[in-house]
Structure formats: C-alpha cells, structure tokens
Amino acid sequence: MSRQTRRSFLQGAGTAGAIATLPLSLVEVAFAKPGQNFTFAYISDSHIQHVEGSKFVRNWDRGLIRAVAEANLLQPRPDFVMYGGDLAQLGTKAELDHGADMLGSLRGKVHHVMGEHDYYLDLGEYWSKLFGPQWYSFDHKGVHFVVLNSILTYDEWTYERWPSAEQRMLEMAGLDNPNGSPFMVGDRQRAWLAKDLAKVAKSTPVVVFSHSPLQKIYKGWNFWTEDAEQVQQLLAPFDKVTVFYGHVHQIQYNQIGNISFTSAMATAWPWPYPETYAQAESHLPKLTVHMNRADPFFERDATGWQFIDVHTGRAATHYNLYNNKVRTVAFDAASGRPEDTAYQAPGARIAPQSHF
C-alpha cells in the first residue's frame, strides 16, 4: 500500500461529502511507519429487526447503512472490516439475509463474530451458512487474529429448558431478563484456542475478537463471560494482547495484566452504563471515560462505528460518534494501558451533555 498523505486522504473523502464525520487526522498515525502499520474498520450490533413482510425497523437499518457508507469512504482503504455480532435481532433468516445484503455493499473482506441475537434461534446454523465458521484464526501483517464465539452457555439452558427455539431466542434477547443465562466460551473452544495459540510465538501481537466482553462487568445484563479468567489465562503468556468486543453498545476499555480491552459502539442504539441502574452494582472498569448521555431526539446519537489502526502490534481505536467529537482510545506505552487520548484526565473531559 502506498504512503498516504493527509491531502490525498482529504481528496479521496471529498468526493463523497461525509468529511466531517470521518476521523481525518488519525489516518496519518497509522501510516507513520508504512509497512508495519495497518488499519481495519469495526462495525457491530446492528440488530436488524424484522417487522413483517418486507418491512424492517427503519432506525436500525439506517444505522447499518450509514456505517457501511462511511466505512466505504475511508482512504486509504482499511485492510479489512470486522463485524462484531448481533447483526440480527431475533436470529431469523429474514433478518440475517437483510443484514448480509446491506453488509454486501462493503468494499473489502469482512470477518464475522457471532452474537447471541444471531445464535439462539437455530444455534448459529443459518449464520454459519452465510458467514462461515463460528471460531477461527488468521494471520495478517505479523499479527495473529483470533475470533471466538463467546456467547455460548450451559447445555441444559440451550437444549432442555425451552419449549421452542423461538422462546429460547426471546429469553436470551432480553438484556435484563433474569431467565437468561451467562455467556461462555466453553471447554471445547478453549481447548481449540490453546492449540491454536501453541504455534504462535510469544512476541507475536495477538488480537482477539469476541462478542461478549472477555471480562466480568455486570452479570445482570450479561456484560459478562463466565469463563473469562480461563480465557485470559490462555492469553497471558503473550507480550501484546488486545481484545475487541461488541455487545455492550457503548465505549469501554480496560487493561488486565497484559491484555488491553476495547469495546465497540452499536450502529443500532446505545445502552446506559450499568452504573446508572440504581438497584445494581457493577465492575465497570475504572479506566473507562463514559460516553455522554444520548439525545433521544436524535436517533443516531451515541451510535456509530470504529476505525482501528494497529501499529507496533498495539491498537488505537477511533470511535466515530455522530453527534459528538470523534474519540480515540489508544494503548499508551507509558502507562501500559489503553487511554482516551483527549479525555482521560478528569480535568480534560468535556462536561456531559446536560440538556436531555
């Protein structure tokens, strides 16, 4: 890929007229050392929802269409696109097909992560037909990428508890539903992961994608993976590990040992932080500078997508917020953890939007 200057980037984007929403200056960082660095786009949680016939919920459609259109404007082109899961709302063929159609306009290779909303109707059967295996790994420019299906749960819950597949899907779809069940990667996949990682040098940067956070944040809303510690243990021997996850529909980041965690926003709707639920306690990592409260009168507020550059095996994530400034969370070599590049220090934060 040839070296891109800021000017050529502007020219590329200028033709399409969405400049203001694209993270312009950030592209230069990624290509400061050409050859070593690369970028990818990260889109997640579109929750395409079937109403009836050929009708789908307009709001969620618009979110995905916008993210796809903007990701297509990125110049230089990202090496690939990650889709973080929850493409559908209730896992139906109609929803997955419609979502796949919209994603079909993306320029470049798309890798997929399984979300619980894609899975619990037919246990991933149709999704796998469309998008391939539910867990896999690949190597790209010296980085080892791993994709996990982290939204599995106990067999009894999955196979025995519910009278129908539709009900099982509905029970798992309600975020705050006490009948739900905690997510997990499970023995089989952890055994696969151990084997997959055995052939990777400890100095190789490892980037893992899961749908649920591979850390425990708030069980009541399934911001949670039951065997998170066991997965973390498998990742512990590597020098540089980054975990990306969707599901939480908000900006979160954290550092646990050698592992940097960064979440994705949803294209569909934002979620409140678990702390805002007065009857619950959560373990939301202290490192996270919260997103501003969303404006209910602007339906795309606090939704968006991400643009990530990977340099020297560490990631910087640019959150493309529609009604707010772009936020960048980048691994900080001095502190050894991901930090918001503008708003980490309390004194530097912009006051939360106060008019909603």
Partner: protein
C-alpha cells in the same frame, strides 16, 4: 347560633361514628394495596418488554434495560427539545411515538400508569431532584 351548633354536633358525630375511621388501616388493607401496586409494577415490566406496545416490534427494554436512563426522579423538568417543562409521561410518549413508531397514551391510561410505576420502582431509593439535568 343554635342551628349552627346543631350542625357542628352532627358533623362531629358523623366523623367519629364507628366504621368511618379513615386513618386506621388494617394489615389486610396494607397487604391488599401493596399487592395492587406490585401488580401494576409487574404489568409495567411486561409492557416494557412488549414489542406490541408500539407498531414496529421494538420494545422500551431494548434501549432501557431495567428502565435505566429514564430518570423519573428528575421530572417534571424543562425539556429543551419541547421548549417547556414536561412530565415523565410526556417523555414516555415521545419514545413511544419515535423509536416504537406507535400511538401516544393518555396520561391516565392504565398502560401509562403501569409504565410509570415500573420506571419509578426501578429507581426507588434515588433522591428526588425535580428539574435536574
């Protein structure tokens, strides 16, 4: 003067007569009222997750798990987008009409009362701060 005294006496007798004590609740009364309230909260919780409340299958709970981010303790408050002080039920109708593409409910519609009861119950214990942003 005499007539007035008579009327007063009658009134006092009426208030004091057995069976008309307005302020002595029995445990049965309290239990019944609590059950009524809890029933309405449960109805509200069910409506909160009900894709049929609006017209596009979307439910309040998709964006407000456990009714989070509805801030009942801050209402009534000035709502910039409406340009005036609004009550909680008006914001419920805003979300009902927009993300749910549905019809607004009357303030005293039993469904609205149930939605309000559930949102407020999930926020119990939080200090009242009317007008706060």
């Amino acid at each position: 003067m005499r007539a007035i005294t008579l009327v007063l006496t009658l009134a006092v007798t009426a208030i004091a007569s057995p069976g008309l004590h307005a302020d002595e609740f029995t445990p049965e009364d309290l239990a019944r009222w609590q059950a009524q309230f809890e029933g309405v909260v449960a109805e509200g919780r069910a409506l909160w997750g009900d894709g049929k409340l609006g017209r596009n299958g979307v439910a309040c709970g998709q964006c407000h798990p456990n009714a989070a981010n509805t801030h009942p303790e801050t209402y009534p408050k000035f709502q910039k987008q409406l340009g005036r002080v609004a009550s909680l039920w008006e914001m419920i109708n805003w979300c009902l009409r927009n993300p749910l593409e549905g019809e607004p409910l009357a303030a005293d519609d039993p469904k609205m009362v149930a939605l309000l009861a559930y949102a407020t119950w999930e926020r119990r214990g939080v200090k009242l701060e009317p007008g706060k942003h």
